[in-house]
Symmetry: D2
């Protein structure tokens, strides 16, 4: 069954979406539906036409409304700057489309809430582009935790550090303004690792954290000597308590000099532990407190066909998956959800929950004390 | 410009070819041509039809000749067992098609020679599926060596070890017979690392090596108690001398228990060294003998847009590429060669040279002494 | 010049002290004095005599007072359970001895304060056994930070996790009672990493943290079915703010299943970063944001003669130091301090400061909000 | 029981010997005897006196004969340049002393043979300073292999690469002349890894290799513009066949730019594999082909009290040993041998066997074919 796709926004990740939807049925088979790249939209028509040619879409438009109302478009992919996620997604939902929204879902929990409730009321499927969560290694980590292989989980230490804003001469942009970005590192990278933490260990109940804006001013435009204030955080750190009672802590930074993809976590359990580093994304480390003590150690497990989703890629064990492969899996998850009518993971509701956690961190940074995550 | 594609053989790597050709223009742009997945062939028609549906080909056939003569097929992909590479490729060449042949090219240097000469006489483009060679990290390694950044290259130590034949109860198959496989580990994995060694450092002049068949018998079929002899090698080890005078050594095994993708190399130069491990395929280690001695060390460079081909994938620095991404690059290389009329790398000639090296190793294993690689 | 040594307590680390003082002059030369292992004390005389023979002390006693008043003893090493550190050290100070005290210094900031002020009033030298701080790799990290090689330091993420209390059937002991241990993981391992954080980056001003006792009861004695309450923490996590304004976070655990010596830190600066892991204690990772972007990466620097103290060990570069070598360096530091009359590092005052940080974490865990570290 | 020690030669490793013998009884206990550092010798008397003070010897001499005949010296440590090992050791043997000789034992198999036969005839104990062999991680590797935990051993790939001669302006010295050094990298580092290979897997029967002198001339003295020829090899590579039928290959280099201590090996077996790297000397990697395939991987085992010798050091599991600790273990091995009258490991005979292997490699490099190792 074919499913028409409309893409709004041709910036970062547009290629990943195009490859993801094109490659998905080849790797996973056509049973959940075959996406047709129907219509692509960006603000200028020539730009949209170039994108259509480059990405393999059938048609182009400069009007997002065209995408939303197009009868051959069944799935709308929202790949715009953060502050347009809500209006675009809500319009698509109103038009009865399934929505694949890039992360973060909305700028605030309130936005996320309205998006979630709208989608649920409309009965459309949703998914949010927390692509690292789709890594087979992380899916394996979850499987190990949930099976009890490491006993009862006790705590997590997690990080998502990059350095894409470490240069103080990167000029002010939408990521530096509260109105367009909501938050800084907390949202850009922190949302990924919070999403993963909840995927692995369930909902977070309380947090205590601190946001820091280290580079307080930036050039008002590239090369300008005039500098204006940065409104969003460069670093976020917070302690966690899960609903289950487990503890943990998270660091998220966009100015961690030298780090390009330091998304990782270490989960300790009563009978084992596991450890993951997205920089070496095709392996998981597992410690099992069993067997002779002199033969124990962290085991480096290369991801193979025995593990979630990897088999679909057709490669030998340990032969490795890449960044875009995660997007392919994400597209698969969404098509499955549409085909079955069951929620995708992570859907808008899961992303709303992430947003509540981030907002509680921001509140805690103001109050200087623990803050409960608002129930969703 | 569209270029019709015919795929012969739907076993291992068929998905990689399908994704490779479909994703290529999305990532690299359509300037070198846009592949159209026209016709797929395997021995049974229902099987071919299933493959067409699964892999996204327009049509299916059970007759390889159909693929070869089809006027809408401009590129023939040969993805059959090793002993059919030569007849399929030669037929395609005779029909004036460009040929993308899975590795190893032929069963013997003689076969490789006739395939190479036929393709050159016909003026068609060729490429061979030594996909690891297309890894951006290895392309970066070559760039570093050729720029003189590590001084004059002195030697290489390289390995390609896997364990897919480590279980002694895997039954006899075409890979265990000389007539169908040529050699064992020497060809299955050794050919990859020889190809890379020559890509990095130029042609190999002489070798001295030893082939070993450790698991001497295998069940005649799955579960059988009767066992028959294994004719091909499980392990190959050899010393090298390059035409340049450089030295080195290589290990290749298909029974290296625990190793799934231990393709790696260490190249020493007079002013630096580099080190690569396909198990961590998105990074390269570089040592530069400069700066204060107390600040020297092997640097782990994450592959980023500054490096060959990675930029096309659209992902952030160090965000990682995977196994299939190498095939996408290989497809790109081939389309470029077709578009420009210049040889692809590695073409049939390069693969013939690899075959001569492997054959010299086999001769050396018999003679117990150094053997010159026959000039091509 | 010879300096007589008295050791009180023959438990864990007694060997390290004996080797440390014996090997020190051989490696560093006799210029700072040559220790003489004069007198060793433990609670039973036969035990003390066995220890004297085993560790190479000249004499033995079962009375700590004997050590303290012995005229040939110039240096008293306090290697007792935590709650005896203060009385032993204070008695030794009163007797005019230099005191080498195992960590933690006292059970509370108040004890540490009185020990520090007593030593300073008496004019004796002191050092505290935070041996990991003496690792040449960490001394190199400090040198790099202080020289500005990574620009201005921004933040630290640090950990000291072990699993020596992960087994819930380890019976109750002095480490589980507040009266004898003060705190649990916070002190056992957290004190090490706090000491290092302050060594690298200066004093900590404020903290916000949480202590957790995960294993709430333990057998009252080995093998007993009756279980009693654990009073001290198994895990401590806290956010930091340094006096300099820098931020950070620390995790310390004694139940981190699988971790035996996961003491590590990552320090981010404006122009570089560094990363250390005591599990690979003879190397430091350094990232420098300079040179072509395509050649940047974390560099693994093997510790060599160019770095602090390593040269004294006489081994080749990167040949590796071990746990006890850190104690040898600590002994060297102390003899230098005695010889020169200048404070050792870390002396009682530095350890008192660590104690104030830990106490602020404990207060914060009660209050649920940030707590200032009391000024010393 | 006290055992008097005489040390001949105060160059590299003199500190290691002094610390090794002093620390040994403290760590392992006095049961195998307590060494007394009696007499030290180097060519000038003032130098010897300085060494005595620095290293803690009772007396000094400039005459090696003094050491050999001294009645209070029971053990002679030969730490001279390579070509003096034989005359010194033979004289000591004639005087009835036990001999601890630095590696390599002699310059040629003939020398090694005469030294071995003399010692065996005299009934004295011998040991040779192949200190890496004493690393607990390597002792654990042997234990694992011999217990059958990795099934039947199949092959080994091993390396000992350093770069101490990589600078082409290091002037000519005794290591560059055949008469004083025998061979170059083959002996300096190759002997270590051959010794370990035989320790792990038994005697080597045949080899096929190649020696290369890459830096063909060096300054006749430091800073000189005149250059003279280098007679010894910079790199050695060879294929192996063990008496057991196992295969393997070894690389040894003194010009491997960037490598300071790349001694390592990978041993493949039919049911598992192990992997070691002296750069991370306190851990061993083990793969066991058992349990669910999706949970298999190389396990990083931190060396702990369950493993050979580590317990004596008194440190926690995974807390790490260093270069000099290997010498301490070597001294322990020798004292045990003297106390029990049983051979130490590796004794002169084991070192002679190593020498025969190296010589066969050199012969093979000349003949261009496989050479049998002469039986000892």
């Amino acid at each position: 069954m074919q499913r028409g796709l409309g893409l709004i926004g041709t910036g970062y990740l547009a290629k990943a979406f195009a490859v993801g939807y094109r490659a998905m049925p080849v790797l996973f088979g056509p049973d959940a539906g075959v996406p047709v790249l129907e219509l692509v939209c960006t603000s200028s028509l020539p730009g949209a036409e170039r994108a259509a040619a480059a990405l393999g879409f059938n048609r182009a438009t400069a009007t997002s409304e065209d995408v939303i109302v197009d009868p051959s478009v069944e799935i709308v992919v929202v790949n715009t700057p953060n502050h347009l996620h809500a209006p675009m997604a809500l319009a698509a939902i109103r038009a009865g489309k399934h929505v694949h929204c890039e992360k973060p879902l909305g700028l605030s929990p309130a936005e996320c809430r309205s998006m979630t409730l709208a989608a649920e009321a409309a009965g459309v499927r949703t998914i949010v582009g927390f692509n690292y969560r789709q890594n087979p290694a992380t899916a394996l980590a979850r499987e190990i935790i949930q099976s009890g292989e490491i006993g009862e989980a006790i705590s997590i230490r997690a990080t998502h550090n990059e350095d894409f804003m470490a240069d103080p001469d990167i000029p002010l942009g939408w990521k530096h303004r509260k109105a367009t970005a909501g938050h800084g590192a907390l949202v850009d990278v922190g949302s990924h690792i919070v999403c993963i933490a909840e995927y692995l260990l369930g909902p977070i109940a309380r947090v205590c954290g601190r946001l820091r804006t280290v580079i307080e001013t930036r050039p008002v435009q590239a090369g300008a000597s005039e500098r204006g204030p940065v409104e969003t955080d460069d670093e976020a750190r917070f302690l966690l308590e899960f609903v289950s009672g487990m503890g943990g802590m998270i660091e998220a930074s966009r100015i961690a000099t030298g780090r390009k993809m330091q998304l990782g976590y270490e989960v300790y359990g009563t009978r084992g532990s596991l450890c993951f580093d997205q920089q070496r994304m095709s392996e998981l480390q597992l410690y099992e407190a069993k067997g002779p003590t002199g033969r124990r150690g962290f085991k480096t497990i290369p991801i193979a066909a025995e593990h979630p989703d990897y088999g679909a890629f057709g490669a030998g064990p340990g032969h490795g998956i890449g960044f875009n492969d995660q997007k392919i899996i994400e597209c698969r998850r969404f098509l499955e959800a549409i085909a079955t009518g069951r929620p995708a993971s992570p859907d808008f509701r899961a992303a709303w929950q992430v947003s509540e956690v981030l907002e509680a961190v921001a509140r805690s940074s103001e109050s200087g004390s623990w803050e409960a995550v608002s129930p969703i």
